[in-house]
């Protein structure tokens, strides 16, 4: 191509540029329009890194894939909340892959559906269930941990009686065993398919399931471009529930929150996740789109203090911090009211065995100063206030407000943003003096939360390194009482550990955040789930 030709073609291109600018985006071909009706376009900040819940380091968006592409034996029923929105019902288990089950002392026996098939057409058998559960308790990491939470620990507990009958033996009475069988981890895998892809180094075929869905759920992944999009197609042979309405789900990752809002506001996306609180509030107010918000069950945003190191080893200092926190300011300026306050409960003595619930602290700088003086820090001290960079949208303004208030009682806190991957590493070390963080438990029980966050076993989520034999006794007592249906003791113990957590304040709960989703008005069937991801099976597009 000589220069003249080059210039010519360049002119053509630039005139094309001009038309592109002048004409509004042209995209209204007929085929494209009809495709839109059966397709759900979903936008969120980030996408899955692994399609398998059993995989190593599978992230939260990955849970959504597992939830929609695999079946469990049971699922949770649904209920309508007082505000009219739908939610899963933690107390009601419903059949999914299992038609029915019978509970006895020491075991539960499931009967599988006759017509259930995997995506490749092979029938689902009890051996597949056994293999899947064995896998969950053996591969280690998160799935094994989650199974353990329901006292599901050893392959010997899982018995395939015949092709359609499957039994789980209990190793101890545990109130959480049955609910734990309905979470995402005990998904049923196509064991023949996965085994055929397994290698010596990878006996559970994790490499294959990472890239491919190998289940029998209502949807299957037909395209996955990591970090860009995931495309789901409906499994028309699905039998474990009513046939979903949506044929196709396209899930696009849009990193900029502003763009996600614009997309939903202009009607280009059907559902938008992960918006800042302010956007949800405003979208709701504007009324062009539907915004559904549910309190995240068993979840709290909190300020954690390292109780093993001065100065936060002093109770008075911790209480001073609890009195110094500008609770209402945070609710207003950071959350725009989108959260359930967990402060100003009147007293630190509670009467109901529920969690989360408000504590008795309020913003009271005078009292905080008094406590600081009492603790021997009348002039305050210097410390760092850390948070996860990945959740900076909430934490940065929150911590800035906190920092300002702490300065009033002499605590000079510098803010420390820790990039996502390091955050967990830093938490494990338990050396950060002061953090702002969020935690939620899948299983919505107070003792479950406290077992992970306050118990002396010092799990990762006990970010404060809090150890108190009295606390441990109350938590263990409540767990036992729940398993044995001793509700009087249960109430006493739960109230006891909540009271103790409030008086000792290793962590100060701020609020219970909401999970919000913005969607177009013609989208119906949205339901809140404990895993905080979408269930495509119930969604409809009018």
């Amino acid at each position: 191509m000589n220069r003249r030709e080059f210039l010519k073609s360049a002119t053509v291109l630039s005139s094309a540029a001009a038309t592109g600018v002048a004409a509004p985006a042209v995209w209204s071909s007929a085929s494209a329009q009809s495709a839109r009706q059966e397709t759900l376009l979903l936008v969120s900040e980030s996408g899955p890194n692994n399609l398998d819940i059993h995989g190593v380091g599978t992230n939260r968006p990955g849970y959504e894939v597992a939830w929609n592409c695999y079946d469990r034996l049971m699922s949770y029923g649904s209920k309508t909340l007082p505000d009219g929105s739908a939610s899963y019902d933690r107390d009601k288990l419903v059949p999914e892959l299992a038609e029915e089950w019978s509970l006895s002392e020491g075991s539960v026996t499931f009967k599988l559906r006759k017509d259930a098939k995997f995506h490749d057409g092979t029938a689902v058998t009890a051996q597949d269930v056994k293999w899947s559960f064995d896998r969950a308790v053996t591969v280690g990491g998160f799935p094994t941990f989650q199974m353990k939470a329901g006292s599901l620990e050893k392959p010997e507990q899982f018995v395939a009686l015949d092709d359609r009958t499957f039994r789980v033996d209990f190793i101890r009475p545990d109130r959480l065993t049955m609910p734990d069988l309905a979470v995402i981890v005990p998904s049923i895998f196509n064991s023949k398919l996965v085994k055929s892809k397994a290698t010596e180094a990878d006996p559970w075929g994790l490499e294959y399931t990472k890239q491919n869905t190998a289940g029998g759920g209502a949807y299957k992944v037909t395209k996955w471009q990591s970090g860009t999009e995931v495309v789901f197609e409906r499994n028309d042979a699905w039998t474990c529930g009513p046939m979903p309405a949506l044929k196709r789900v396209v899930w696009r990752m849009v990193p900029s929150a502003g763009n996600r809002r614009a997309l939903i506001e202009r009607g280009d996306a059907d559902i938008s996740f992960d918006l800042p609180a302010k956007d949800f509030v405003e979208l709701d107010k504007a009324g062009k789109v539907k915004v559904v918000s549910n309190p995240i069950s068993n979840g709290i945003q909190y300020i954690g203090m390292n109780v093993n190191k001065p100065p936060f080893n002093k109770l008075e200092v911790r209480q001073a911090v609890a009195y110094a926190i500008p609770y209402q300011k945070i609710m207003d300026a950071v959350m725009f009211g989108l959260g359930k306050p967990l402060f100003g409960g009147g007293s630190n003595k509670v009467s109901d065995p529920v969690w989360p619930q408000p504590h008795g602290y309020v913003s009271d700088i005078a009292k905080a100063r008094e406590l600081m003086a009492k603790a021997g820090y009348p002039d305050g001290f210097e410390t760092t206030l850390s948070f996860d960079l990945g959740s900076a949208a909430v934490n940065e303004p929150l911590c800035t407000l906190l920092q300002e208030s702490l300065a009033q009682i002499g605590i000079k806190a510098s803010l420390n943003k820790i990039p996502g991957a390091n955050w967990r590493g830093e938490l494990i070390k338990k050396e950060l003096p002061l953090i702002s963080n969020f935690f939620s438990g899948w299983l919505d029980y107070p003792e479950y939360f406290f077992f992970w966050c306050y118990h002396g076993q010092n799990a990762l989520f006990n970010t404060m390194g809090y150890k108190n034999p009295e606390m441990d006794k109350l938590i263990d007592g409540a767990r036992l009482a729940a398993a044995t249906n001793d509700w009087a003791v249960y109430k006493e113990d739960v109230n006891g550990f909540v009271d103790l957590a409030f008086t000792d304040v290793p962590r100060v709960p701020l609020y219970q955040p909401y999970l919000s989703v913005a969607m177009q008005k013609q989208i119906t069937g949205y339901q809140y789930w404990f895993h905080r991801q979408l269930d495509y099976r119930t969604l409809k597009k009018a």
Partner: protein, 293 residues
């Protein structure tokens, strides 16, 4: 033809000042940039003492207010006065720009002059180092350095200096290379000057004006770089006011209509970089001997 006119002009005794006056009068844009620079300098020096509000003080009752007589640039999510924050941020941004540029000016300038003057192994080593840096995507390298060393102002300055290193080496090397066989350098050798003395006493001062142009241009780039780092969360720590962070904070508010949060810091940032760039042009006119008529 230039010789005909240049020689016709009598040797002038008047110095750089009248020349500067001439440059400004010939090119008003340069004059504006000098004025702007003075303004920024002033803001950096006395800014914190004259702002109407404490730049760190939140006032949630006055959050997200549009620009008004009370708050010229409006307020942000926490009710902080954006005007005060923008003015106070000047000092930090200037410090980052000046410090990083000073650092790379010394290191890169010296390495470049030495490599251009000595050639040989010095040149090869300096060349390799700067080639290696150039082969990195520069912004990502800066990110990597800050991520690895931690996001403090010092590390931002170091990272910015490192990614500018090849630019300075290139300019200094080329200029020193041209001059290494110049008559006055040979003459300096004959006068018994040591090589290092020639390098620092004879060559460096002659390269200085050109390097100053480079300095001005990279100052703007340093500010942009720091802002970019802030935008992705690796910049200065909050709540310290800094233009880049303020734009990043305001970015998510643009769509919801609170344009002023990102807009004013963004425009100030742009003006500062703009000013440095124009200043660079002006300086170039000032030091370019061909423009001296």
């Amino acid at each position: 033809m230039s010789t005909a006119t240049a020689d016709a002009a009598a040797p002038s005794k008047d110095g750089i000042l009248s020349h500067a006056r001439h440059i400004v009068s010939e090119n008003p844009v340069t004059g504006v940039s000098f004025a702007l620079f003075a303004l920024f300098l002033l803001a950096a020096i006395i800014g914190p003492f004259i702002v109407p509000y404490d730049p760190l003080a939140s006032d949630t009752a006055a959050a997200l207010q549009a620009p008004s007589a009370a708050h010229w640039f409006g307020t942000d999510q926490l009710g902080r006065d954006i005007f005060s924050r923008v003015v106070v941020a000047t000092r930090l941004d200037m410090i980052i720009a000046i410090a990083s540029v000073a650092l790379v000016f010394l290191a890169g300038g010296f390495a470049g002059i030495a490599s251009g003057y000595f050639g040989g192994w010095t040149d090869r080593i300096v060349g390799r180092v700067s080639d290696t840096i150039m082969a990195f995507p520069l912004f990502v390298l800066a990110m990597g350095i800050v991520a690895a060393l931690g996001n403090t102002v010092t590390n931002i300055i170091i990272a910015t200096a490192i990614i500018n290193f090849p630019l300075y080496v290139r300019v200094a090397r080329a200029e020193a290379n041209v001059r290494r066989e110049a008559g006055f350098v040979q003459a300096a050798r004959l006068s018994g000057n040591s090589e290092m003395r020639i390098l620092l006493g004879h060559i460096a001062p002659n390269i200085l004006p050109l390097m100053m142009v480079q300095v001005s241009l990279t100052m703007g780039y340093a500010i942009l770089n720091a802002a970019g780092l802030s935008f992705i969360g690796l910049g200065v720590r909050p709540p310290t006011p800094e233009w880049g962070i303020m734009v990043a904070e305001g970015a998510s508010f643009i769509i919801s209509g609170e344009w002023w949060i990102a807009f004013f810091p963004g425009v100030t940032l742009m003006l500062a970089v703009f000013c440095f760039n124009l200043l660079g042009d002006g300086l170039r006119d000032l030091v370019d001997p061909q423009r001296r008529t």
